[in-house]
Subunit: 239 residues, 2 copies
Amino acid sequence: MIGVYSSSANVSERLAAPPSLAISTVIFALRPSAATARPTLWMPLVRRIREPFKGQWALPGGPLSHTESLQDAASRNLRETTGLAPSYLEQLYAFGGLHRSPTQRVVSIVYWALVQPTEAALAAESENVKWFRADRLDQLAFDHNDIVDYALGRLRSKVAYSSVAYHLLGEYFTLAQLREVYEAVLDRQLDPANFRRQVRSTPEIQETDQYLQGGKHRPPRLYRFTGRPGLDQDNRSTP
Amino acid sequence: MIGVYSSSANVSERLAAPPSLAISTVIFALRPSAATARPTLWMPLVRRIREPFKGQWALPGGPLSHTESLQDAASRNLRETTGLAPSYLEQLYAFGGLHRSPTQRVVSIVYWALVQPTEAALAAESENVKWFRADRLDQLAFDHNDIVDYALGRLRSKVAYSSVAYHLLGEYFTLAQLREVYEAVLDRQLDPANFRRQVRSTPEIQETDQYLQGGKHRPPRLYRFTGRPGLDQDNRSTP
DNA sequence: TTAGTTCAGGTCAAATTGACTATAACTAAG
DNA sequence: CTTAGTTATAGTCAATTTGACCTGAACTAA
């Protein structure tokens, strides 16, 4: 009885079928942009190997298996398609417009993830998995451009009022690196001195007695984020 | 081919089936609490007329028809089960835990709504539809207590940083009435003078030359909210 | 040795917030 | 008719936060 609405069914049968349910993920990571040394937001996309939108780039995603929760499905799919283990994962939105897919009604529950630079660096690229700058995407499959825009908005607002930015960095970071994250996400310059004052006043930030060596100028102090990780129970918000 | 997983299928068949998709809504309205005159948050619930959880109270909801968007489904279901037309409607969260329903895997896309007092007053109560205080619910069906808690959290945070509170009031209101909304939702007292100063500094608030008559004391001025309504295209956030 | 750059710590005025006081305008009790 | 009681409205003042800016420290590279 499973798979009744598989590829053997014709289009009208699929349109009449109950909406199918898929999980997709928008994955953000920081990478140095090509020209300048400043980090910018990148995301991995997968090439579609079947119709519709065959050959076009799309968000990693897949069907929801009946033995896993939504978050587990997003996490698994992330790992399988891109090899990445995110440091932050949160539900974004359920997209259920009528004509998202030309061949059938699909409701996509979309998650968004942040991965640390080390993770992002060793993520394998291939013929069908490539990284793109989040702010310079061309036409994606389905409504995935809209979804990415929505995710970018969520990332920006969350960076502004919560402490998600740390999940785009490794364990130790300098205040300049942290500021560059904010500048990349919010897309505006921040005053280094005022930024420093603000960050140092948050209790979750711990100063270490380590300094980053090898730079061209005065070695900056390294800091740590001691808040709770982005993957624990409380991040799921709900059972 | 439609309806394969209907009530004629047995439990194991339903558990193996693809997760079914439902839409539910958490509806908030302000009503005067029984004892004091202060308004408090209430919500309509519907009694389940079939298993599982037969006889228990639950959030209004139903299946997603394939000809309507998620928001339209929520809106229609709201109207059909409670007769209400909300002044604000927004997606809350997609709940997809494995054991939300004992008999089958259900993924619920939950919306939350605000309705104005006039609407809420003439909403019909019946044997199977009753209003309850949002902060004093006993055991609901499924995981609906968790969902209500999550919706309350969202309402509180949105009231604090956005202008949703106005959708719990009618077109004209006094600053005291508005303050009572904030106090009911945030569950703490606010200084009337400071609250007044803040509200009057927001450009979306327009003072009228009308005063509320018939009170016991000095008649307060009436104000209007001129921001955009809670149901337009932009509230949907996404296509 | 020196110029150039970033790091780090600080000042200062403007804006915002919370606590509080005073007056105005009405109702209801006497 | 007068006055006490209550809410509406307006304002003050200190504490806190924010944005703009300055100065010296610490390093590299020429």
